[in-house]
Symmetry: C2
Subunit: 364 residues, 2 copies
Amino acid sequence: MMNLKMNYLLGLCLFLLVQLANAQDSLKYVDAKTLVTIGKAKATEQWFQRIDSNETVTMPKTVQGLAKNSAGIAIIFETNSPVISAKWTLAEDKYMANMTPIAHSGLDLYCLKDGKWQFVSPGRPEKGALNQSQVIIRRMDTTMKQFLLYLPLYNSVTNLSIGVKTESVLKAPQKVAVNKAKRVVIYGSSIVQGASASRPGMAYPAMLQRQLGMDVINLGFSGNAKMEMEVAKYLATVEGDCYVLDCIPNQAPEQISERALPFIKYLRDKRPKTPIILVETVIREHGYFDQQVGNSVRKQNENIHKAYQQLLKENYKQIYYVPATAFMGNDHDGTVDGTHLTDLGFDRIAKAVAKEIEKARAKD
Amino acid sequence: MMNLKMNYLLGLCLFLLVQLANAQDSLKYVDAKTLVTIGKAKATEQWFQRIDSNETVTMPKTVQGLAKNSAGIAIIFETNSPVISAKWTLAEDKYMANMTPIAHSGLDLYCLKDGKWQFVSPGRPEKGALNQSQVIIRRMDTTMKQFLLYLPLYNSVTNLSIGVKTESVLKAPQKVAVNKAKRVVIYGSSIVQGASASRPGMAYPAMLQRQLGMDVINLGFSGNAKMEMEVAKYLATVEGDCYVLDCIPNQAPEQISERALPFIKYLRDKRPKTPIILVETVIREHGYFDQQVGNSVRKQNENIHKAYQQLLKENYKQIYYVPATAFMGNDHDGTVDGTHLTDLGFDRIAKAVAKEIEKARAKD
């Protein structure tokens, strides 16, 4: 009898201990849509895609696909939880030789500290899984903090929820530390989309967003951004305090001569007072050896520079120009593959473009 | 009859055109072992592995495996071919959330230009393949040039051959632009092994090798480098003009207090005149939020600093010290995941460590 009672009490203790352990690990998940979203040009039916599919129908097929990627989109929230976790669903099992899985399919968490966004930790995607679930950070103190969570650069996210301890607060901040009323809109190629940052927060539009404290809209389309008029028409409908056109890399030199002026003039016509910053293409590092690539890149930059000079001649105002020499460094080591900037290269281009944006804003 | 002749002539033309096209693309492959190999501590039975398996039997099991990786090994050759191609066989189909496939399983080509090594282009691994074959660069001028090809950082290579145009010269250079007689030996963790460089040439030992023009031996073992005496004994047998000990990241603070002094004293005893450079662990960026990690990293660096001061007190000479503050930057953005330096972080640590090596050499 005594033994039975003892066994019962021991069993109860064990049950309670297991419950306690579960409670310590128990997290509640909140749909990220209910928090604050930044980095989006406009509302979309699919929350985590950059341009609504209704608005891309006239654009090139590949742009229609890439517009679904979550590059540049980030979620802002406040919590006092010691743990932050995330569950996210990816559209594709991606492989990119020149990018880390964290960058193309992972998450990247920052925290507001002394008025600045500071890197916390990434959400690492597991191999081959479309449904991802990861604890991003644990064992934090339980003061209330504001966080910024960047979404994948080269994948599409159909669901995202953020997990915190059951007893903690998780909410949209009352005072968001990114000025959503001030926006920089960047139109560009794979480099703008974020190849090859080490993680989503190291794509240069994300760096600019943190440096300037403004909302930055990433309209980078890998292998594209060829200044089609359909895209100019869309771009002119996107509210912006500054447009950055980093769309030289994938255009043939002759395309630049044909398309740059009509594209820029259209945008200026629709947005008469908004500064436009033109960015030369990265100088392909392999172009110092592959003579065909070297010549082509030289002509690309010559032709966008000619277009810029023509605009000045025609008395266009508020047009700014960032030459490649301002951001290529002098070590030839800023890219992973000759074309796509790494964090080292992105650090340089972000500084060069930020300088022009500040110049434009000072004149505003 | 006329028709038959015409058909015959047409057929002949077609045959000759196909032959011509094949000739233009036809490459000859040379086994990389017959060229110049750098970055190896000693000769090994398996050419592209870092330490011979006979010498790792007493080391931890994981170190035995990692010693087979090709981190830090590079091939030097001369060619006047307009095309350079490579075929390489990998031991594993690797996935790393925090590294690019180019870095963990790819190749990285540099060329000697005006006395400096300049990045050319990487060898991109295809998804899932163990037998890789890639054209790395094409359309170069046909002057004779010296090249440096880095091997994968986190995979093992069982075969490597380099392809050039059939009619071109491919040979070991008479005057190799890396001084193989001067060697820096770096013992460390995943960071030394190269996580998370964007490509093999951006691991910091490789950067040092190019900056100093010396042979740099990468003895970085991911998740390891815990100053075991077995490793000290091996290290002392490796010829070096300077030893860099960047082996704090994976040791518990108490292990450092126990092991650092005996390890360093053993090495100094066997190599009385060779400078030893101690490097603090990277400050884990997530440790600014995860309090347990933050405290642990602080103690790790306190303990290696105490060991350093003890050595000075005991009048040890030629001991140098690189504090983490010398290479962490002030943007908190030098890592991919809080621990592993990116190209941005590696650029900083390479400069900081190079400065100490130069200081040590000046005293030499």
